[in-house]
């Protein structure tokens, strides 16, 4: 039986080819400087993806990813390292890349809340900001080791998030949404008027350093000068890998099953003896913890925090990523984060219009393809099983 199922597993090749092509494309896009070339590349990607979809190749790729996730995950890490190595002396591209990685961690946290437990959170950027401000305050006023700062950033986000637990637990749907929106507005105003936290001008954040290894210095391997952002890339990649594995394991475990049941039908779930409040709290706190860690590291990467970077509009961008990727599908999130973060940075003309644009795209998605670009597949209870 087991061997038969092993044979039924989809081939690895389509996934590897897709990964290689995406890596090459990503390098080309990130390296492109001239606007017409960038527009051309983006148009090419849209046409290529549509064509692949039409020919049924995308289906092969997604099956390959579903069946051989562990191997392809390792290859994906390698691919990310290849991209980083290619741009080893390019500060701007590496910063962009690190931003994508950390935003992915944050949206993975949001994904636990929205995608699995169905707990709404429209203050994602606020919790991200709490992490960033935590690292700003701790690195300026104290000598707490920086790895610990990340942890504290996450815990602080979870702790402040727990203040919202009571209203979020007592309400559902629109009402929980209102609570988090009110919190997003509250936090931004608070940061703006609080002088200790720098007011509207924000604060400087010291760069990371672990055991005397200062992250903000360029270094050399052999005779080749490396950008200091490679340090941050390494840490962010570790964080992302850890988070991704955690989220994936969580989803497959009985915890994930409980969360799914909770989201799909609360009353039925509680009839089967699930403790609704317990799982909602778990999902909300864990999600905020992950967002907070990503925020703390992002604060150090950027070297600067200000209230205007953590507004309600930024939270909506995070939710757009979630919707675009397909709620509940971590792989979809990675793709969507790349699109949402990289495209406006490269395509300067739409930078100013990005919030408007993504809001419009989400409206279109909701009307015509509500399940997202890469919908979450049906839960697989054993390998080779297909709905």
């Amino acid at each position: 039986m087991w061997e038969v199922m092993q044979k039924l597993r989809a081939p690895l090749l389509p996934g590897v080819v897709a990964l290689a092509l995406s890596t090459a494309y990503l390098i080309a896009l990130l390296a492109a400087e001239k606007q017409p070339l960038i527009i051309g590349l983006l148009a090419f990607a849209v046409v290529a993806v549509l064509a692949a979809h039409y020919l049924g190749w995308l289906d092969l790729v997604s099956r390959s990813f579903a069946d051989r996730e562990d191997v392809l995950g390792v290859y994906a890490i390698l691919a990310a390292c290849v991209v980083a190595a290619f741009f080893h002396d390019n500060h701007f591209v590496l910063l962009l890349f690190v931003t994508v990685l950390l935003y992915t961690v944050a949206t993975l946290g949001l994904n636990i809340q929205f995608g699995y437990a169905g707990v709404l959170n429209f203050a994602g950027a606020s919790f991200f900001g709490i992490g960033a401000y935590a690292s700003a305050v701790l690195s300026t006023y104290t000598a707490v080791p920086h790895l610990l700062v990340l942890l504290i950033g996450g815990m602080l986000a979870a702790l402040i998030g727990s203040l919202l637990l009571l209203p979020v637990l007592r309400t559902r749907g629109h009402y929980a949404a209102l609570v988090t929106i009110a919190f997003a507005l509250l936090l931004k105003t608070f940061l703006e008027v609080n002088d200790v936290l720098g007011g509207p001008q924000g604060m400087q954040v010291k760069g990371m350093s672990i055991l005397g290894w200062s992250f903000n210095d360029n270094f050399e391997i052999g005779k080749i000068e490396m950008s200091f952002y490679l340090n941050y890339f390494a840490v962010s990649m570790l964080l992302l890998t850890g988070t991704f594995v955690l989220v994936r394991r969580l989803e497959r475990s009985w915890i994930g099953l409980n969360l799914d049941a909770l989201r799909l039908d609360e009353i039925a779930a509680s009839c089967f003896g699930l403790d609704i409040a317990r799982w909602k709290i778990t999902a909300f706190l864990l999600g905020n913890f992950l967002i907070g860690i990503a925020g703390a590291l992002f604060g150090m990467v950027g070297g600067f925090v200000a209230p205007n970077n953590y507004t309600f509009a930024d939270s909506l961008i995070m939710v757009s990523i979630l919707l675009l990727g397909g709620i509940g599908n971590p792989w979809g999130l990675v793709v969507a984060t790349f699109i949402v973060v990289v495209v406006p940075e490269k395509l300067q003309t739409i930078q100013e219009y990005r919030i408007l644009l993504f809001a419009l795209i989400v409206i279109m998605m909701l009307l015509f393809r509500p399940e997202g670009l890469l919908p979450r597949p049906v839960r697989r209870y054993f390998p080779g099983w297909r709905a």
């Binding site: 209203p167 209102l178 608070f190």
Partner: protein, 306 residues
Amino acid sequence: MDVGLLAQYVMNGLMLGMMYTLVAVGFTLFFGVLDIIKFSHGDVLTVGAFTALATYIGLRSAGVGSTPLLLLAMLVVAIPAMAALGMLIARYLVMPLRSAPALNTLLITLMLGTVLRESVRLFYPQGANPKAFPALLPTASINLGQFNLRLDNALMLAAGVLAIVGLQLLLNRTKLGLAIRAVAQDEETARTMGVNFTAVVLITFAIGSALAAYAGIMNGLYYNEINFGMGLYLGVIGFAAAIIGGLGSIYGAILGGFLFAALQTIGTVALPFASAYKDVFAFTVVIALIAWRPTGLIQEKISERV
């Protein structure tokens, strides 16, 4: 505290409460007919205020100098325009998603609000900066000790009361109102009794959005300044007010609106910290009240919310 000063605070609170009420009534109306929350409501208010301002600037540059005429033109342009916008939103964004999960309706109205807000910021000339709003009402005032009763405030308050009373009469004394209440109570039964469901929903959205435009103009006249983010704040406060009072009831919206304004005024006056924290205080109160009474003070008979 001096009686005059107290009266001044009461007056300010009443003005705020009137604006919150006008917004909250919109939320209650939409929730009544479709059981949805339209998060873009506040941003419709913003667009209404900016439409009025654009009308004013256009007419001024065309040489119209008469203040009452200008004010009338602003109302006549902005209110029907927002009513139409509300109908479009209902017809093309909200109604197609009726059978979809509630999250989708929530997201689509939230994103639409963002589209409206960002459009004002990006496409209105220098929309990112606050805009001066003309003071078109007579500013004569009566001084009673420390209390300074301004005629424009009194007029606005009266206009607000008029709008609410008008709405109340419309809902309770007309055939249209009967239809709206019937749909709110039971959609299917209303349909079988020959109520044109789509028309009723569209008209309700038109009324609610018209009230938002009205509140937007009122807000501009009161503060003499509007900005692209005002609707988001007023929307959240209005929604909170509607919840505090109890969604689905006009009286609840009125109660909630004035209660919220009262809390905010008391907070600003009585609490020791600087008035810079007044918005922080307001939103803390929103969160605390929802934690305390998720179903509102005037409760619905059947609640699907908690």
